[in-house]
């Protein structure tokens, strides 16, 4: 496999030519915030938190959907990037009702963790406080639109790993919503296998186990690689 050489944060590194820039950055042990990216799922480039600066390019690049190329000169952390990343998180927080204290994911939430790492201690934008419903019609799981950041991990895992494609995103822009069973109550969906993969990959409290109480949900992402390695490589890592 061919290898390219690029510069990341003033350091000359090599990476496999078919890998994403995000992969190359992470391989260098550099911590970069992400929300829509999850190892094992296709990339979407939706959250824009993994944006980086590339020398010669006036615009920022979402590293998860940018393939590595020979000679790239990349900066992963700068004042400009931090400002934008904070802004993204603040906009996410302002858009729906992310009230952490009573959330089932309080303490275990990826959005909360990213916000804390970026030093988001207040939100500069007006909260929209939309009046959004919860769908608790499923026997085992609940969908809470108030906590959803539209990362589409649930859509992708349902489609790409489980193969059920129960979940989708409907609407445009600020009206976008995750839907189940072609926009029917989740509990009436005939395609949902109840596997719970969507719940486990959801970074926030938007999808959770029914009956969960404040701070009680802990999600396990590692199941995904375990399943994928087993299916694709016939390797099951029992340890």
């Amino acid at each position: 496999m061919s290898v390219v050489t690029l510069t990341i944060n003033d350091k000359l590194v090599s990476a496999q030519a078919d890998k994403s820039l995000l992969r190359a950055i992470k391989d260098q042990g550099i911590e970069i915030p992400t929300l829509c990216h999850l190892e094992g799922l296709s990339e979407r480039g939706g959250c824009r938190l993994c944006m980086v600066e590339m020398q010669g390019s006036p615009r920022l690049l979402a590293s998860c959907v940018t393939p590595v190329q020979e000679g790239m000169v990349i900066t992963t952390h700068s004042e400009r990037l931090t400002n934008y990343r904070r802004m993204i998180v603040e906009l996410l927080l302002a858009e729906r009702n992310h009230i952490c204290c009573g959330c089932v994911m309080n303490g275990n939430c990826e959005l909360q963790s990213v916000a804390a790492k970026l030093g988001v201690d207040h939100v500069r934008y007006d909260y929209l406080c939309p009046d959004l419903p919860m769908d608790a019609s499923h026997e085992r799981y609940v969908l809470d639109h108030n906590r959803c950041i539209l990362c589409s991990r649930c859509n992708r895992v349902c489609d790409e790993v489980e193969g059920a494609h129960t979940l989708d995103t409907a609407g445009r822009g600020i009206d976008s919503r995750v839907i189940t069973g072609m926009n029917q109550p989740w509990g009436t969906s005939r395609s949902c296998t109840g596997c719970g993969k969507c719940v486990q990959v959801c970074p926030t409290g938007a999808l959770f186990k029914k009956g969960a109480t404040a701070s009680e949900m802990v999600k396990q992402h590692d199941f995904l690689l375990w399943i994928l390695d087993g299916r694709d490589k016939k390797i099951w890592r029992w340890s």
């Binding site: 009573g102 309080n106 608790a136 109480t213 404040a214």
Partner: protein
């Protein structure tokens, strides 16, 4: 010239409130009102959530008594799922509730009312606070902090943090105690008892001095409502609703809590965000249905406490009632509060010897089985009611919260008026008088944050307004 005096906001209470005193042409008190000026909106924004989230959300109503809201909420959720919680879970819930009584009552007595009681109602306002108390009575101030800490520590052991522990859940609790916790509680218990006894002596030693206050700080006949055990004992977590009239007659011996609406109805006034509940059979007009809840009411209505030390104090407490009638002065809320600390400590002592409190079987699981759940318990300030309506999927459709401070609303208004009538004359509004009026509110240890479903600084603003609406005198305090 008719005037209005406004105390805004009231200090050393939890939340935002103000008092207005209306004077008639002769400068005598025509009316007095305690206004709760904050609005929280929990009843509305909980709609649409799933019911198991409710203990975690509603405990955020208050930073002083989150445990009460958590437990009342968990009980309402138990009723929705229709399960009996494991015996260990009930004992653990009782244990955390007793711990909360210790910390909340200690806060009220030592930190909020202590400066008035020990430094004097009209002492130098610059020092009439917890800092002044620490300077003049460091041992007492330290003891108060230690006692409160004892309660907070137990809450932390069970709920992993002392404020807003997300621990009680529908069907039980999350975690039991461990052996190490039990040893620590047991080691610290003697000091807690000792501090409580010292506090009792302190208060009782000053009773002669406080005779005028006893007669003027909310001394009036009223109804009393609270929970009792099925056999009539003092109860804080579960039980039956009992109502006593002003003469000491028990007019409702033990109503199942699900039927609370048969005896409690709610009225509203345009000048306060706090509801005005009243005893339904007597009606709202002219204060006929005025009742009191909280420590004074609980000790009046119960036949006995059920623990040796608390029962001994209860016998002394009863002597404060004239001719075998209930204790009518709200000044005795302080005494009742201390007796309840004693009771809570004795119950904690019993519970930590029960092997169930370390049992792992602490949670039952079930789905939605009933559309309505009512959870009623005694918060330190009085009877606390959570009522939820849910749909078949467990989504909250309606929430009704009736909190202790609301239950005492009419009584607080009457107390403010009585103190104003006793101490106010003409246009001269001294700071000391204002503090007396405020203390009338502090007796009930109200939590306005809870009762209006904000926390903050509470400076003081008093105005005398004449009948033309013009301010003729004004006083501020930071």
């Amino acid at each position: 010239m008719a005037k209005t005096i406004v105390i805004d906001p009231v200090t050393r209470i939890e939340g935002h409130g103000k008092i207005s005193i209306h004077l008639d042409q002769d400068g005598k008190v025509a009316d007095a009102r305690f206004h709760v000026t904050e609005f929280r909106g929990f009843e509305r924004f909980c709609e649409g959530r799933t019911f198991p989230e409710m203990p975690g959300i509603t405990m955020r109503i208050c930073g002083i008594c989150p445990v009460s809201h958590m437990l009342a909420s968990a009980k309402a959720c138990d009723a929705i799922v229709g399960v009996s919680i494991p015996p260990a879970a009930e004992k653990l819930r009782r244990l955390i509730n007793h711990a909360q009584y210790v910390q909340s009552h200690a806060l009220s007595f030592f930190h909020l009312s202590g400066p008035d009681l020990l430094l004097g109602m009209e002492s130098d306002p610059a020092a009439r606070n917890v800092v002044g108390l620490i300077q003049q009575h460091p041992e007492i101030a330290r003891s108060g902090i230690r006692l409160r800490q004892f309660g907070q520590e137990i809450i932390r052991m069970l709920g992993s943090k002392s404020v807003h522990p997300p621990w009680a859940v529908p069907g039980g609790v999350r975690e039991p105690l461990n052996a190490e916790n039990l040893n620590e509680i047991s080691r610290k218990l003697p000091e807690a008892f000792e501090i409580t006894e010292i506090a009792l002596d302190l208060l009782k030693d000053r009773y002669e001095k406080f005779k005028p206050e006893t007669e003027r700080y909310g001394d009036f006949p009223s109804l009393y409502i609270g929970l009792v055990t099925p056999d009539g004992g003092l109860e804080h977590y579960d039980g039956l609703l009992r109502v006593m009239d002003a003469e000491g007659r028990i007019i409702e011996p033990g109503l199942h809590t699900d039927r609370y609406k048969e005896i409690i109805a709610e009225a509203v006034e345009t000048w306060s965000y706090l509801k005005f509940p009243y005893y339904k059979p007597a009606g709202y007009e002219n204060g006929a249905g005025l009742y009191r809840v909280g420590p004074l009411a609980r000790l009046n209505i119960c036949d006995f406490a059920g623990t040796p030390r608390a029962d001994r104090e209860l016998r002394q407490f009863r002597r404060l009632g004239v001719g075998g009638r209930p204790v009518t002065s709200s000044f005795h809320y302080h005494y009742a509060r201390l007796i309840e600390i004693l009771f809570a400590l004795e119950r904690i002592q019993e519970l930590i010897q029960d092997p169930d409190v370390t049992s792992d079987h602490v949670r039952s699981h079930a789905g939605v089985n009933r559309p309505v759940g009512i959870g009623i318990m005694e918060a330190p300030r009085g009877t606390l009611i959570h009522e939820y309506n849910v749909d078949e999927n467990g989504i909250i459709k309606k929430v009704n919260l009736l909190v202790a401070t609301g239950n005492n609303n009419q009584a607080m208004n009457k107390t403010v008026r009585q103190i104003a009538e006793a101490y106010l004359s003409g246009n001269d509004i001294s700071e000391g008088l204002l503090n007396r009026v405020e203390h009338g509110i502090r007796l009930y240890d109200p939590c306005l944050s809870c009762s209006t479903h904000a926390v903050g600084q509470m400076p003081l603003h008093v105005q005398i307004v004449d009948s033309n609406g013009e301010v003729v005198a004004e006083r501020f305090r930071d």
